[in-house]
Amino acid sequence: MNNTVSEVTLRADGITKSYSSESGLIRVLNHINLELSHGDFITISGPSGCGKSTLLAVLGALQEPDSGTVEYDGISPYRLSAKDRAQFRSKNIGFVFQDFNLVPYLTVRENILCPGIVNSSNDWGTRTAELIESLGLSDRSNHYPDQLSSGEKQRTALARALLVEPTIIFADEPTGNLDQENGQRVLDHLTSYANDGATVMMATHDMDAFNTGNKHLQMDEGSILTLINDNGNN
């Protein structure tokens, strides 16, 4: 792995996010600063409700923070219009969710093709076929999500996230609904994608999954407790 000249992909500065509830404002993210580079596979753990999902959403340009900046190679997605931000997501960011979030009326193949529709410049057919092949979905490509097992669903979601070869993939407990074997398959795919030079950021409760990446982030109550770099750098 080439970690010495790692280029910064994502920089987050002073991210705060609060939700209003009956008992007043709840601060979910508290001045988060973070830098991610190409080839990073960062795993996040922390107690339930500590803000992992919120952090992924804010960094993934899915949810605007109250304050702070998110920057991808000089582009701040939250300074873009909603439409341009969506366009930006479709080109640069992939998502994998715990509960798959497949479009129920589209087949495996169509679900995988979904992010490509916005980026109509490419012909995504070949790429889709490759992904179906490599993720072991060949005999499932014309099935609908409700005909799939959980593992197949998550591999479909993974293929969808990988389609446009985004610079970064956010995975929010991607193994949470999977058995050991299927979970490991997903982790292997994410690892190899990071090894290809992309960035992967994964929230998980599973210790094995947590130990998969090269950077490990512990969160509590909206703040970063520790960030461990496997290479010893902090």
């Binding site: 899915l62 479709s90 998502f95 979030n101 479009v103």
Partner: protein, 403 residues
Amino acid sequence: MAVSVSVLSYIISLSILSNSQISFSNKMRVMSSDLKKEITDLENEIRKSMKGLGFNIHIYPEKQDLSVIYEQGYGEQTMPEEYVETLANSKIVTVNHLLPRLTQMVKWEEKDQSVLLIGVRGEVPIAFRGENRKKTLIDPVKIGDIVLGHELHNKYDLKPSDIIKFMGKEFRITATHPSRGTVDDITAWMALSTVQELLEKPSLINGILALECNCESIDRLGDIKKEIAQILPNTKIIEKESKALARAEARNKVKRTGEKQIQNFAISQKELIVNQSLTAKLFVLIIAALSIGWISYLTFSNVASRSVEIGILGAMGFGGSNLILLIISRAMLMGIAGTLCAFAVSFVLVPVFWGNAIFVSIFMDPSNMLVLTCVPILLACGAAWIPAVKGALKDPAVILRNE
């Protein structure tokens, strides 16, 4: 899926609706034809009873001074006997029986008695009616016979088959009438030719009695006068006796009352029909509102699952107008597919359950088709519009988390 179901239910409810509409209009059609039949029946009834109430007229020579008629009961002016043949051979429709007569007050020298002598010829058959003519109203008196009014036979104690002398001739009494309290009581009837001979008025008559005149119009006398005047220009016509006139008046009154009743009946029926069509329209409106409400409920209850899609698609990079367009066009496709599907099903169901006539009336009516195709599609798009716009404005993560 929900869209197809709701569209199908919409079409079926519309079919049922149209069915009830059609059966209602059928009912109305039957009702109004019933009404028409009832009215014509009533009119025929009245016409029939009017016919039964025929009235009688006198035909006199044109020169006849009517004051003389009213003074002595007959006129001194005469006209050719052949007039009655002329009349009978015409196609007169308003008169049933024609009786020519020669009347004069004479002295029964033998008894020193005033007698109203009437020469009668019996009924002149009205030519074109042929075999169908009615029974004769008055029996003719044969030559050599005489019929006497009450006073004439009672006073002199005469009986049928007695032979009497009258104006120098012998006659056999064939009938004696009971007292009538009219001039009939001093009247003697003989054959017309005999009277013409006795009075030296050969082939002449001084009046024609037309009996059972029928005229359905109110201006009965006017119509008959017109008809007779065309055939016999030199005559004048009066209606016989005010009794008959009063009867005719009563008859007309009956007719007018009948007509009024028909009118009232028609008006009340019309009101009934109007009321019922109002209720029908209300009913139709309620059903339409209910079915549209149900479809709206079905489609809008779909919003929740639609939101997840929007969240997913948003995360995948569909944003702003792209997202709205995608969702709406999908909804529209679903609406069209649902409508087509519903059409296919109803193409089978409607003729089977409600018959071809209703099928044609639903699917051949352009406004119906417009509603059937546009409303579900518009509703489907409308139902998608709200979450699409909402979703386009919200961050995808917020939508995904909330659903």
